[in-house]
Symmetry: C2
Subunit: 356 residues, 2 copies
């Protein structure tokens, strides 16, 4: 069974296909490829598992593949250039379609490469991790990291379609699955308390990879995200809510060195920190903070920041994040479970206390 | 006296200010700066001449400057990253305005950096060469080069405004001035025979840097280009006419190594090659080819390709250019002076003969 979700962005609208074994249905893919040139971008972990299966469905195209090293620490301009090297060495024109086969790093890099190659070529996402299926496949944010900040160099660029094959989650290790669950839980916290409750009830089934439950979690997450993105594609306003946990989380990821703490792990810790600051401001009840921690722990996620990060490092790292406006850090905080707000109306002292 | 030309691109419309000593009028600039953060990007040649003057008008802003090496050979991802280094080290937010102070290379790199930094920040162009005043300041094409092709990595991204100060042309060397004249002559060839005739009459005055004549040439060039860009911002059709001479020219620039042949020199040679192929196809008269060569020579430009480039190298270099569609090279050719066409309807044998 396949679910189809349409992301509504005027002429940049596109479908997300969610279901079991969709890689065996190449027509989903080929109906979105214009021209005859295809570059598949994947990594060393995913290539042995799914690359051949993908290429088998594309025999009518001139296909090339570039296989990148696996990990957030390779999401930079230098490795991005390997995509351009391969595209140009293959003499692909501005009518090439780029396909991202992999997790969030591959999706972010392929999307950004597609946005820049000859000033823009079409691309398709085939996310193979839970994190990328619920997060980076919706919203068109593409980027690479800089040594001084995460996702600092990028573009808003929408894919032609997204194919989320839940069968690929069977090869995902437990830590990566949990990392994805952090983003799933985030949607409940932002504006969907019913989904949060559903997650509390189904967290074990999700960790046990029940395919139907996973598909439902992916669909609800993508729908929640797509609703927000459709209101604010370029993040001038409400879209910033999706950054819940991310300003803290990015600081942790950057400060620890990319790849040490997984993205979802950073977000999980960041959501707890956002909840604790919200609680210190009397915006959310202490019991709700405990409920959030309990669900994250049940999902196999960390809830405390690494002790090696000093509060000074933390503040410096948070200051370069994109949520800063004229020197003041805007944070996403919680008025309740299912009610996130964008705010710079918090006590700086309470933020400082949280970081020490 | 100052002329103002409006480039009409809906909500991305912007003004071009053309006139003498506009750097002494900072209000032109500041009326287009939002926020309080400014990064000036310039190069080693231009910085000693105009950077301080620019900064003197921006005392109310937190300004930083990054000074790049000068030359097309530095227009790559590695040097681009120096802009991001400086921006991040300065802890500039997504509300920073980037100002390009320099020629086409600085404009292209700053525009692309602005398009990518935190997925897009505002930028302003202050072109200080004739080439950049008549070409890269209109149209929103930004890019860096790749070892395998020129301008292969970039974005369409419009500035807030362009300030073309003709006084800056007084410090330009003769070869650079001539390089700019190649693009000026191009507009006459594409669709403005009256301008071509005017250029034949005024070419000496232009080389002698008559300020009024220069200002008129810049205004007419920008207007011609803006008219075409307004019809086709993303180069799906008619905008390709602006590439007259460029497919040949890029091959020469890339093949000789960036910086050996100036951009305008490559374009001049490329326009002669386009004219000669058009003449071989009986589309343009032999006398018109001679008229074109005569004007280019009078402008101080080369008209013959470097002999070291083999025809095979030429074809390979042209094949990676952006004008290729499903393996066939589309060229901009001439039906007459002032009547360029986009065509793949030429004889491949005649093209091959031209390259040998």
């Amino acid at each position: 069974m396949m679910k189809t979700l349409q992301v509504a962005l005027d002429e940049r609208s596109y479908p997300i296909y969610i279901g079991d074994d969709l890689l065996s249905r190449p027509e989903l893919l080929t109906s979105h490829i214009r021209g005859k040139e295809v570059l598949v971008v994947t990594n060393e972990t995913v290539a042995p598992l799914y690359l051949q299966k993908l290429l088998d469905g594309l025999t009518n195209y001139r296909c090339e593949a570039v296989i990148l090293p696996d990990g957030e620490e390779f999401k930079n301009l230098t490795v991005l250039n390997e995509i351009f090297d391969k595209t140009l060495a293959s003499q692909f024109s501005r009518h090439v379609t780029m396909i991202a086969l992999g997790g969030g790093v591959i999706g972010d890099m392929t999307g950004f490469a597609a946005a820049c190659y000859q000033r823009g070529v079409p691309f398709i996402q085939i996310p193979t991790t839970l994190l990328s299926q619920v997060d980076s496949s919706v919203g068109g944010k593409t980027a690479v990291n800089h040594a001084l900040g995460k996702n600092m160099i990028g573009a808003f660029y929408q894919p032609q379609c997204v194919i989320a094959d839940t069968a690929t989650l069977n090869t995902l290790d437990d830590r990566q699955l949990s990392s994805g669950l952090a983003e799933v839980i985030k949607y409940g916290l932002i504006n969907d308390v019913a989904f949060f409750v559903w997650l509390e009830e189904n967290i074990s089934a999700l960790r046990n990879r029940d395919q139907d439950i996973l598909a439902e979690a992916i669909e609800r997450s993508c729908r929640d995200k797509a609703d927000i993105v459709a209101q604010d594609e370029l993040e001038q306003g409400v879209r910033a809510l999706l950054n819940l946990g991310h300003t803290f989380g990015h600081a942790i990821e950057t400060g620890m060195g990319y790849g040490t703490v997984l993205h979802g792990e950073g977000v999980a810790i960041g959501m707890v920190m956002a909840a604790e600051l919200s609680s210190a401001m009397d915006w959310i009840q202490v019991e709700d903070v405990e409920r959030i921690k309990k669900l994250l722990l049940a999902a196999g996620l960390p809830i405390s920041p690494p002790e090696v990060l000093s509060s000074e490092q933390f503040m410096n790292l948070m200051s370069v994040d994109k949520k800063v406006q004229n020197g003041k850090i805007r944070l996403i905080l919680l008025k309740a479970i299912g009610q996130a707000i964008i705010s710079d109306d918090y006590s700086p002292d309470k933020l400082a206390a949280l970081l020490t």
